[in-house]
């Protein structure tokens, strides 16, 4: 057996192929990158926005700038150096954590309510806006519910496809980037190429399309043939529990 977070992390880690480059955020994205590194992708190059480049992660970093992010790393550098590698097109994936998300994969991690006097103030962009602007593919991992999967984000912190096809390029963002997969506790979501809207890629075992619709505020469109997500393998779970997150920092939530 496995819990929803374990499933999400295992599924997410498989999206990171060996030899790929990925900029990761705190928490679940970092756990997924670490799991990939310890299973099928030993040569996954992980970069942290604060300056950690290509560490062999010994334990889950608590901060994307703590010293674990440079454990046996190839380089301890600066934020500008990491972000500029992304800006010039080096980095395959941006891997970001939970936030409000709309059908175009736009993310909000700044405020709920009115910007000038918000009902909730969140941290803001951090490096999220930069990573999602610069990296070729954005991966997002987040819980699936109607509060998060909204018609319109209260604040567009980090760009997905903005208002649809061509909008990123029109705004001046680097060509060819954008959201790729959203991994939730119900499904893996992808983006329909022509309209840039989120669709169901695969449903997790036991989850129905109706369940996904009920937990998504925006229109999902037609769902025809949908695959079932391959559940976590024994070995993936063992590595995740024993080596990646033995203290249950992320998977124990």
């Amino acid at each position: 057996m496995y819990n929803a977070m374990e499933l999400m992390i295992c599924v997410a880690s498989r999206l990171l192929e060996d030899g790929a480059t990925v900029g990761v955020g705190t928490g679940a994205p970092c756990a997924a990158a670490m799991l990939a590194q310890k299973t099928h992708a030993p040569e996954l190059l992980v970069a942290f926005e604060a300056g950690g480049l290509a560490p062999v992660l010994p334990a889950m970093p608590i901060s994307v700038g703590d010293s674990r992010t440079t454990h046996r790393a190839l380089m301890a550098t600066s934020m500008c150096d990491i972000m500029e590698a992304c800006q010039r097109g080096v980095m395959d994936y941006a891997f970001l954590g939970g936030a409000q998300i709309d059908a175009y994969g736009n993310l909000n991690s700044t405020v709920i309510g009115d910007y000038q006097k918000p009902s909730v103030r969140f941290p803001g962009s951090g490096g999220g806006n930069d990573f999602a602007s610069f990296c070729w593919r954005t991966l997002v991992i987040t819980q699936h519910d109607r509060r998060r999967f909204v018609e319109k984000v209260d604040f567009l912190t980090t760009p997905g496809y903005l208002t649809g096809p061509g909008a990123r390029e029109a705004a001046g963002l680097p060509k060819g980037g954008g959201p790729y997969r959203v991994i939730t506790d119900l499904a893996v979501m992808s983006f329909e190429e022509k309209i840039c809207r989120m669709q169901v890629e695969s449903l997790h075992p036991g989850v129905t399309v109706e369940q996904v619709r009920e937990n998504t505020e925006f229109e999902l469109g037609q769902v025809a043939h949908v695959a079932e997500t391959v559940p976590p393998e024994k070995e993936e779970l063992r590595v995740l529990r024993e080596e990646v997150d033995p203290n249950g920092f992320i998977i124990g939530r």
Binding site: D66, A76, S78, M83, P123, G126, G172
Partner: protein, 347 residues
């Protein structure tokens, strides 16, 4: 809208900005004019004088009410905790602050003074109010949700590039993030057309803080500093800031600095004050020295949820403490610090 203490030139600039859709409508808190900065830096002396002083003297001399302050390191990693505590104890007011992934450092200043006064009045926000995977600071959130603090949005890279523009001595840097988002709309950036390709770019204005607080591994008495591990934005921040206060784990000789010049990250002519503060990033992480004290950070976050508990917590750990050494003692002293040292070094 509050504009901060900026020059006439920058104020005029702000008014122009609000009228165009190619400009963010956020407030610009500092003057990006490189000639104003050059006039200042011309008189910043490069001579190798002895800059060693106590933390309280450094804060008294170089941090004033109304100043714009920036914190080095990365939120809970290699932060100048001792300097931040002293700002709170000396009850500074009306500070501007660069929220470039600020976590525990922001949380300390968000506490306000013992007499209940707000310390921060304006914040450039790229990452504030959170402590990454540890959760959100209830106190910092309340402060930013009160509407009393003027705020301007940026991404982390954008804010790092604002330091870089200032360090470089140019009025702005072009970048390709923030485009098309509300982060841009609530910033004080502008979009410009690239003169070579015609592509839209974001121009982020140079940010020259009045004072930067940077914790380093080693410094000599003049302020030649070495940093191990990631440098985050401190290479640029130390050069961009009008004044730099350094706290250092160790004070080394200038001969030692000269023995290995490529280990120097910050040269003395950037630095105004050097404070010798072993464990100076506690409860933050210091690369190669000690890991973060997660129990203490957790206790701080928990205390913020209840007014009385929080007040008692601050009295015990911050307001009622005479100096940083005493704080370290209250937090468990040598036994705890040795444990964190062991944790950091893979024990």
């Amino acid at each position: 809208m509050y504009r901060g203490d900026v020059s006439v030139l920058a104020q005029r600039d702000c008014k122009m900005m609000t009228n165009s859709e190619n400009t963010g409508r956020g407030p610009l808190f500092t003057d990006p004019d490189p000639d104003v900065a050059r006039a200042f830096f011309r008189h910043k002396k490069g001579a190798l004088t002895n800059k060693l002083m106590s933390v309280s003297d450094a804060i008294a001399q170089f941090v004033h009410d109304g100043d714009y302050v920036a914190s080095g390191g990365f939120g809970g990693n290699r932060i100048a905790t001792a300097l931040l505590h002293e700002i709170v104890r000396q009850e500074r007011a009306d500070l501007g602050f660069a929220g470039h992934t600020t976590t525990h450092d922001f949380q300390i200043l968000a506490a306000g003074t013992r007499s209940g006064k707000r310390i921060l009045s304006r914040v450039d926000a790229a990452y504030i109010v959170g402590l990454e995977a540890r959760g959100l600071s209830a106190r910092a959130r309340r402060l930013m949700e009160s509407g009393e603090v003027a705020v301007c949005e940026w991404s982390n890279y954008a804010l790092a590039c604002r330091f870089r523009a200032a360090a470089t001595g140019v009025p702005f840097m072009p970048i390709r993030s923030m485009l098309g988002t509300d982060t841009f709309k609530e910033s004080a950036a502008k979009t410009i057309a690239c003169p070579f390709t015609g592509k839209p770019l974001i121009a982020v204005p140079a940010l020259y803080p009045d004072v930067a607080l940077i914790h380093v591994h080693e410094s000599d008495a003049h302020g030649n500093c070495r940093i191990r591990g990631i440098t985050v934005a401190d290479w640029d921040l130390s050069r961009a800031s009008k004044h730099v206060i350094v706290s250092a784990e160790r004070v080394v000789s200038t001969d030692e600095i000269r023995r290995e010049p490529n280990a120097t990250v910050i040269p003395a002519f950037c630095v105004n004050a050097v404070c010798h503060v072993p464990w100076g990033s506690y409860p933050g992480n210091m690369a190669g020295e000690y890991f973060s004290d997660e129990a203490h950070l957790k206790a701080w976050l928990a205390a913020e949820r209840d007014t009385d508990t929080y007040r008692a917590f601050l009295d015990k750990y911050l307001y009622g403490v005479d100096c940083f050494e005493t704080y370290l003692q209250i937090c468990g002293g040598e036994a705890r610090l040795t444990e964190l040292q062991r944790l950091e070094n893979g024990g």
